[in-house]
Amino acid sequence: MPDTGFEVATGEFVNQVVQELGGDRIYACFECGHCASSCPVRRVDSRFSPRKIIHMILLGMIEEVLQSDEIWLCSSCYTCQEVCPQGIKITDLITAIRNMAFKAGHAPQGVGLQERRISSGGRLYALDDFDQKKRQKANLPLVLSTIDEAVKLLEGRK
């Protein structure tokens, strides 16, 4: 474990995040700010900063990160991940944090709704009769409304 100067940074939370990512690159962050300055979300909403999230993780601020609205503002565009000079997979890191926040019950409602829809039908939108008729009319092939095998695959996975 590198000496980050913060005792809390060696805590369980950072270990957990690092483990989910399968790497320890996050410790290599030297706060250059490339991630924040390249971020298209930050350009219109200054509340969001990938750098801030990384720093909070390194400081072991578990509850603050998991409960923050900010982690849900990331657009998953991979711009920061592509420019990080230290090779930190920032977008993947935020995905890992979101998974942890979801399990802890802190995700926005829409995230749970999508999860339930896909788990119960295998698709994000079930195609109703109206959709199927429109498809038929346009000579488009049949698309199954629910995918039973995918539902079975996800059964019992939480």
Partner: protein
Amino acid sequence: MKYAIFLGCTIPARARNYEMSARAVAERLELELVDIPDFSCCGFPMKSSNLLSARLLAARNLSLAEEQGLTIATLCSSCNSMLAEEAHRLEHDEEALKETNTALSKIGRKYTGTTKVKHFARVLLDDVGLERIEEAVTKDLGGLKVAIHYGCHYLKPTEIYPDGENPDHPESLDQLVRAVGVEPVPYGMERNCCGGAVMAANENTALAMAKQKLDHIKVSGAKAMTLVCPFCSVMYDSNQKSIESTFDVEYRIPVLFLPQILGLAMGIDRKTLGLNMNVVKTKELTEEISA
């Protein structure tokens, strides 16, 4: 040339114009698109809540294509990134492949790690080729000025696209529209994300992101915009009106899916290309082309 066409969830329900135009263009170019009705969601919308489940959905879809020995061609860029990411991971990580197969065995499936995933636009460029596309042109679009939006997952993360292009200077879509007599217009902000994935967390932030690009395109001289992802289309086409009313601006920029533009140059009619389903009206644009 034969591909398993991967529609995902959004296209068959909400972007039939993209699907119709892609199928029509594929037919002209003698590309055979095989439908696998048992494909599920790619997994992408589950990434934020449960990455492991998202990966399993992707792996199952990959195994369905593998069973038929087909490369997957996607229309949605997010489906493309999810499937390509998992294909890449399972191709290079034996342990992960083993674990995945343990989970897949529950539904009697197996995946050996051979499926390739390509975006439809890259199939056109790499496999069909520009020469063939040029030959299919029957209608002179007269150097129609179009603003190209590449979007994010079509190009990134670069590590999952071994044959990919430089995300800072992509060229594939420029090459494709040039081949049919369209002139790509530089407008700045070309690389900006549409903001689609931010809609659920904060609608205003998402719309403000899309607005930035539309502001730039408006003054660029482009007559239309073109793109290759149904989520990006929701932001620039479906939401263009709400951006106009939220920020008190006016654009009226038609937003066409890439195959709709290619199809116009191949003389395919408006109805077959689903051009009456685009939210911002395209009639004036196509009349101008015909004139």
